[in-house]
Amino acid sequence: MNPAPSVIFFTTLSGLGYGLAFWLAVARAFGTIPADTPWFGAISLGVALALVSAGLLSSTAHLGHPERAWRAFSQWRTSWLSREGVAAVVTFVPLGLLWLAWMLGATGGIWAFVALVGAALALITVYCTGMIYQSLKPIQAWATGWTTPIYLLFALMTGAHAVAALAAWFGYGASWQASAALILTVVLAIAKFMYWRSVDTATPFSTPESATGLGRFGKVRQLEAPHVTENYITREMGFKVARKHAAKLRMIVYAIGFGVPTLVAMLILISGPSALLATIGVLAAMVGAIAERWLFFAEAKHAVMNFYGEH
């Protein structure tokens, strides 16, 4: 699949934003970060909401008609993309209110409830994002039970490193932040390893033989393509440039995306909160997330290419 930059940035940035919002809201709800911290609340939750907004805006960049994007809120009964849009908008309500309350110094118990609702909705939105991909049967590498959990884990992992960094900058660094970041990074690295092993060894769900129904005669090869130049289908679904660099890119995901953040989180746990270290952690985690998301698209084969004789 063609890795459109707008979709890569949307899913990674909004994932970071929702993950950060989740941890901030949870911390606020359980009082692990004090409520009377207007500057910290305004800036860190503001950053989270800005990241989400930037992601959502960039996702409209690949539309043929961005001005009609409002229509995408209508088909939540059947479409995960529509559900994602609705969830994204609804999530702004509790998180936006929490942001105002935090900034204005409101400390009532109701805000703990609002924070928890916001945290839950942030995860629901990321869940919908994952399900958009997981529900597409023609893309075998996406239609697995790993897809949505990995989207959620990336949001929570990058968000945990981000909250560790922001809290440390404001002097609220605490070991729970680095612990959450460490555990999630390790869990995600294992999940990603298992995912890659499963897609690498999977038998194809659909083949040129089953697609054309000509398998009854034996192996099917394309003799004549229907068109001499590229078309929308071959450019969008037949993207192959990246596959030759896949092994190197996977190593980058492991080393920079998982290795560096793991080391950083361990160092913080040993030597105490460090804004600089935590910032390195979140930057490395994001480099890994972007590389991983790029591979998620570039490595995925679409079943329509069976008609073009690609085994």
Binding site: G64, H65, S79, L214
Partner: protein, 241 residues
């Protein structure tokens, strides 16, 4: 509305494509392009049409395959277009309601005024039936010539999809596959018509008829038995010196 019709359409208009008789001439694809670039889904935009790398939107693409090896191998011409599935994922994934399946005849269409061009429907289709029009910014697809088949301003004999009307080999048939007594349903039953990529369970309406069994080879001409006699024997002997 991108929910599928509550009750499955009784009428299932679709195509039956005979892979035994298709000669791969691309006339169906060309006539489709010709009709539809002025029809319901118009235009079918071309990019760089007179340049070195022309490309554009087509609803029908004709592949050529080699299947199998040796004496049992076949060369098969294979037109590929929207199959107007009974449970099309391209419809249910649509976030705007632009993509829909008609309750009255099962045709899958796109409302171009609602389409935001997110391309998700094309990702959901394993048959490559939907193509994005870069110029108009919306998805385009086969309409089963909905603007011909019900068109009372053209002669009745022409009220079939453009691809069917033009096929010089009569390899394309149009009709109601929901009616077991229709000509197309009988043809499917008789020839063992099948679904493409049935593993996706989208239940295509269009059916493909497989290439027929090979005719047994005619016996070789028997060699004249025995040695030549008489004059021929003498000629044979003279020429053999």
């Amino acid at each position: 509305m991108t929910s599928l019709p509550a009750t499955a359409p009784i009428k299932k208009l679709g195509l039956v494509i005979d892979l035994d008789t298709c000669v791969g001439c691309h006339a169906c694809a060309v006539n489709c392009k010709e009709w539809n670039t002025g029809g319901e889904m118009a235009p079918l935009t071309d990019l760089d049409p007179y340049g070195a790398e022309p490309e554009g939107v087509w609803f029908n693409r004709v592949h050529g395959y080699e299947a199998g090896d040796g004496a049992n191998g076949r060369t098969v011409h294979f037109p590929r277009s929207c199959l107007h599935c009974e449970t099309p994922a391209c419809v249910t994934v649509c976030p705007t309601g632009a993509s829909y399946k008609r309750e009255e005849d099962g045709i899958v269409l796109v409302d171009e005024d609602k389409c935001i061009g997110c391309k998700l429907c094309s990702w959901a289709c394993p048959y490559g039936a939907r193509e994005f029009d870069e110029t108009v910014g919306v998805m385009k697809k086969c309409t089963l010539c909905v603007d011909r088949i019900y068109n009372e301003t053209i002669p009745e004999a022409e009220r079939v999809p453009a691809c069917v009307s033009t096929c010089p080999a009569s390899a394309r048939h149009f009709g109601d596959l929901g009616d077991p007594n229709s000509d197309v349903s009988k043809l499917v039953a008789e020839r063992g018509g099948y679904d493409l990529a049935p593993e996706f369970d989208y239940k295509p309406t269009n059916k493909y008829l497989p290439p027929r069994e090979r005719m047994p080879s005619a016996p070789a001409v028997a060699e004249a038995a025995g040695e030549p006699q008489g004059l021929l024997k003498w000629v044979d002997r003279m020429l053999s010196i």
